[in-house]
Amino acid sequence: MATIIKAIDLVKRYPLPEDKSRTFAAVDGVSFEIFEREIYGILGPNGAGKTTTLEMLEGLNDIDGGSAFVDGIDVAKDPFSVKQIIGVQLQASEYFDKLNLIELLDLFGALYRRDIDAMALLASVDLAEKAKARPDNLSGGQKQRFSIACALVNKPKVLFLDEPTTGLDPQAKRNLWDLVRELNGVGMTIVLTTHNMEEAEFLCGRIAIMDHGKIVAEDTPQSLILKHAPDPPEAPLHGNIEDVFLALTGHALRD
């Protein structure tokens, strides 16, 4: 399997909120490799450094230490070329609210200097009937699907999804998972962050678990479960503390 993304010892420092003269590492020496055509998940609690890691790969955030390569291109040296071949869905993004979906997609197409079939793109994310709607009038799930459509205008090699299903209802979540699998099925590499375990298990070929700016484990979901999940308990507990209390102190009334 060919490597498409390589992160070597990535570091991102931010000033401490309580003391601006000192810094802390939001991403603290992260290395990984992502292969072509896989779905790679970065899993972790809020504040673990998932989004910052993605932003460094996307050329959105300056890299303070280490290096990152996308399709062989050094992100720090040539972010412009990297941006040509990736698609990005940000965690929360709004769009110009005075434009409808078709106009917005055409705008994004123009930014990549491409003529696109906006209607076909909308149809591919199941939003054809919303072509003339404004983004403000979309539901949460529709908004996420539209964000993905925007990320697809340049037919990217790698698609980055930052918490794509956060805040969606179960149907919308399922629907989005199907879309992600479909895109992966036609050969797109997908990198996503999530704190939804079920999502990671269902979608990802491999998972990296991040905490405090470091990767604490990386493997396929199955191996991770085998390695780290606790053994099932011997026998289920029954009864409660009152039973214990009564067993130890007897049933007799005391006055």
Partner: protein
């Protein structure tokens, strides 16, 4: 001149801005009210002076004098008793009270030299006295001449070499237009950019291979279209409803308007780049806008300001615009005649564009 992408982006932003019709028209509200106030209330003629007149004499000369004063459009004369008029003077209803003494030329007697007329004034209105006194003296001399049968030797005929009527509104229009242009332009680029940043739109755009140059150019071009639409409406109102005069070439006047808008759109971008939040952009915008309203000769010429402030005031971007537009509108100058103003604007334009594209920050999404 513009690349294909810049043209496309400009069209998109034009569409976005045009769909915000409310703000396009509401921002014209204030300048239109302002111009109308000056246009309708201050129609070039100064208000007549209210003058109380106490005639203690029953001579024909006194009566003639009273008639002469009453006919004069400069005064609104109220005749009455001294005590009443004194009260009115104190109340501020009269500007001054003129008292003709009982011996103001006794009946039948020849005109006498040295009769004294008393003029009662209120110290609060002292400034006006300077205006009234010469006029009154002029009247007295005229009457005296009539009585003595002396022919006037000299007379002054005022002839306007530029043969035009100059109202304060004619002077004000270029200033007000320049000021409105500055406000619309700075708000149009700066405030928009901060709004885009706040919403995360800038960050989303930055994920695509967009260049700051293209983005800045497209917004400036699109906003220029909107600002020119607004200014044209304003100008049409001034020219056709308020009958304001533009002496010089209208096309040249309009070219300066376009150039000036570009200058302030760029400066607005700088403001939008420094400010991270909506409140900050308001504050910084006001810091840029307010001093210029008072220092750049919008309402009165820069020459009327303290000598110490003048050299600084003259270097402000709005000063160059106001003086350029005013030279054309009021004095009929041609473009070749306002080269210093154009040069000043050009320097601010380059400065603005360089700063706007350099300082422009995509990534920081202030929330």
């Amino acid at each position: 001149m513009l690349s294909k992408l810049q043209r496309h982006l400009s069209k998109v932003f034009l569409k976005i801005f045009l769909r915000d019709r409310q703000s396009i028209f509401f921002s014209l509200f204030f300048p239109i009210i302002f111009m109308s106030v000056f246009g309708f209330l201050n129609n070039g003629d100064s208000e007549p002076v209210s003058l109380g007149l106490v005639n203690n004499s029953d001579s024909g000369v006194a009566a003639d004098f009273v008639n002469l004063l009453m006919e004069d459009p400069l005064f609104t004369v109220t005749a009455g008793a001294e005590a009443d008029l004194r009260q009115q003077l104190i109340a501020g209803d009269q500007m001054a009270v003129l008292v003709l003494p009982a011996d103001f030329n006794e009946p039948g007697a020849a005109p006498r030299a040295g009769t004294q007329l008393r003029l009662l004034t209120d110290a609060a209105q002292f400034r006006q006295l300077g205006l009234i006194q010469p006029v009154l003296e002029q009247k007295l001399i005229a009457i005296e001449r009539q009585f003595r049968g002396v022919e006037t030797m000299f007379s002054l005929a005022i002839e306007d070499v530029q043969a035009r009527s100059q109202r304060y509104l004619d002077f004000l229009l270029p200033g007000l237009l320049a000021f409105t242009l500055m406000q619309l332009s700075i708000a149009g680029s700066g405030f928009n950019v901060v709004e885009f940043r706040r919403k995360g739109i800038l960050k989303r755009l930055f994920v695509t291979p967009i260049q700051p140059r293209d983005f800045v150019t497209a917004i400036v071009v699109a906003r220029l279209g909107i600002v020119l639409l607004q200014l044209s409406l304003l100008l049409a109102y001034a020219l056709f409803v308020l009958n304001v005069n533009i002496v010089g070439n209208f096309v040249e006047f309009y070219l300066v308007v376009i150039f000036a808008s570009l200058v302030f759109l760029n400066l607005g971008f700088c403001v939008g780049s420094i400010a991270k939040t909506q409140q900050a952009v308001m504050a910084i915008g006001n810091i840029v806008i307010f001093p210029q309203i008072f220092l750049s000769g919008v309402f009165y010429p820069i020459e009327a300001m303290p000598a110490l402030v003048q050299p600084i005031a003259q270097l402000l971007p709005l000063s160059f615009v106001v003086s350029g537009l005013r030279d054309i509108a009021v004095d009929g100058a041609a473009l070749a005649g306002i080269v210093p103003s154009l040069l000043g604007m050009a320097i601010w334009f380059v400065l603005g564009f360089v700063l706007a594209t350099r300082m422009f920050v995509w990534k920081d999404v202030a929330i």
